[in-house]
Symmetry: C2
Subunit: 331 residues, 2 copies
């Protein structure tokens, strides 16, 4: 039920996904049964008739409440215990599902995931991890908005979480971690990043040192590519939203100066955030994938694929193991 | 002597500027006389012969020391009292010049400007103000890197400084100020921005409220355009460097997908940071313009124009007046 384009985009995304996923996977559509049923029927009789043979792997789960964007995240949980958010996540705690994907309120999903799935030991907050397209390969940036005032310890935790993301979902070997700052040198940065720099050096991860704003679009610094960039959720969120808006702005400038529309579409395909699917909420015991409120069916499909991949690679267990193996005294 | 392309780019920039500036203006070239003289002669006999009639309005001022990029900013001041940085700024305190422009070490320029020119009353640190190109008109973003850990009071000071910049250098009437945060609502943000939001409401400025990362490339929010965006220097510096790198990255993608080179150059002209000249260091008693280390002659010329405009509009006095007129208890 979540997201600006629901239930059409979410149901259509699920129908795209079910055709691509391994036959062992099923998808549960959680929300108001009547609305979902109607959307499903209409799509299967129309544009997504190709998914009809897979109908048996789709299940509808009733959740009568709907969390609205103006509901306060924490009270929404309490006041709407039968929302698709709460029902969907609770199924994971009851071993009836392996992963949860939503395009609903990010705040409510964070709160519900933290309360229902609970955090891995030693963590204080979950982190939203986002993929940034770059001139090289995509970079995992976290936190992208879950934590606004972060301690140095928390930045180290984000580094560990990001490393497992890069290994399990991107297939990177021994991922390289950069700390976002305002200069390459150890002494550059604010109070928190300077402390985090020291901690990251002995945290048992492949730490490259500080990276700067310019290194993000480039996919790394002159010391080589990076796989994971760590920052607090304030900076990460500002950057993410800035990046999302820069591409359309530049595309507009180019169109105004006469560049061919089809050429533009082709070139900007790699910068299309809706193509990058969901942002895993890392640190919770389980899988919770946050989608953009404006997610297209394709974005939902990609998010479901990411969820399946996280389950198959046992990302959650790997996170638990990596956190437990952290050298003593390094958060 | 400062900058990666000095002395060629700085001297050439001065020769471009002197042709455009009102005849009442003169330019002092501060540095090693022999090197400057040689560069000047070579340019005036070659590519910049058109500037020859204006030669009398250029003066060379001897400053034998050169601050290198690896000199520590504060000790450079003490150890190199005859650097172009110190000599050039001291002339302003002795009424022998009205403004200072440099492409040298930003840290040294900040330190030297603060020590020699001193700050306006009530300020704790100067701020670097940068122009961000947007889909509408350019926005003044400050601080862009002078202050990494800022208090809410300092963000309010930046707002006042930015307002005078927008009035005097961009000709904006009653400039609209936005506070960079991670959501439109007052309660969104980190501890410092939430406190700054409250202070800005009663600071006697045209405060629009929070703006998000996406509002920067757009030149404003759905509540209208903004002229000034306030943030701490950590976030501002990360964003500035990110923005500087995104345009070439996207241009590279477009070129790779076959978009015509000339069309690209034309379209990206407005995003060319070297065209935007210098970043005034606001808050010092005087005019100190910071240029990018890689400044082209055109960027230096633009920075000199900005300096002349700051002098003509009496920006420094206006800043003093605005700070003095701040409502009591609002920083």
């Amino acid at each position: 039920m979540g997201g600006d384009l629901a239930p059409h985009a979410t149901v259509a995304g699920a129908l795209h996904a079910i055709q691509e996923l391994d036959a062992a996977h099923t998808i549960q559509l959680v929300g108001r049964t009547a609305v979902i049923q109607e959307t499903l029927d209409s799509l299967l009789q129309g544009e997504l008739a190709a998914a009809l043979p897979h109908r048996g792997r789709l299940q509808i789960v009733e959740a009568p409440d709907v969390i609205e964007m103006n509901d306060k995240p924490t009270s929404a949980l309490r006041k709407k215990p039968n929302s698709s958010m709460v029902v969907g996540l609770r199924m994971q705690t009851e071993d009836q599902s392996d992963a949860f994907v939503s395009a609903g309120s990010t705040g409510a999903q964070m709160a519900a995931s933290t309360v229902l799935l609970r955090l891995h030991e030693g963590l204080t907050r979950p982190a939203i991890s986002t993929l940034f397209p770059t001139a090289r390969q995509p970079i995992v940036v976290l936190d992208s908005g879950a934590n606004v005032d972060c301690s140095a310890d928390e930045l180290v935790q984000f580094a560990r979480l990001g490393v497992v993301y890069a290994e399990d979902l991107l297939g990177r070997k021994d991922p390289v971690v950069g700390l976002l700052s305002i200069g390459e040198e150890e002494e550059k940065g604010n109070a928190v990043t300077k402390e985090a720099y020291k901690l990251l050096q002995s945290a048992g991860i492949n730490f490259q040192g500080n990276v700067e704003g310019r290194d993000l679009p480039m996919g790394g610094s002159d010391r080589g590519p990076v796989d994971v960039v760590v920052c607090d959720g304030f900076v990460g969120n500002v950057l993410l939203k800035f990046y999302e808006a820069v591409a359309p702005m530049i595309a507009g400038m180019l169109a105004a100066s006469g560049v061919d529309h089809d050429q533009l579409q082709m070139a900007f395909r790699n910068l299309d955030y809706s193509a990058h699917g969901g942002a895993p909420l890392l640190g919770v015991r389980g899988i919770s994938i946050i989608c953009h409120g404006k997610s297209s069916p394709r974005a939902i499909k990609d998010a479901i694929r990411v969820a399946a991949q996280a389950v198959e690679t046992r990302m959650d267990e790997n996170i638990g193991r990596r956190l437990a193996a952290a050298p003593a005294g390094t958060a």
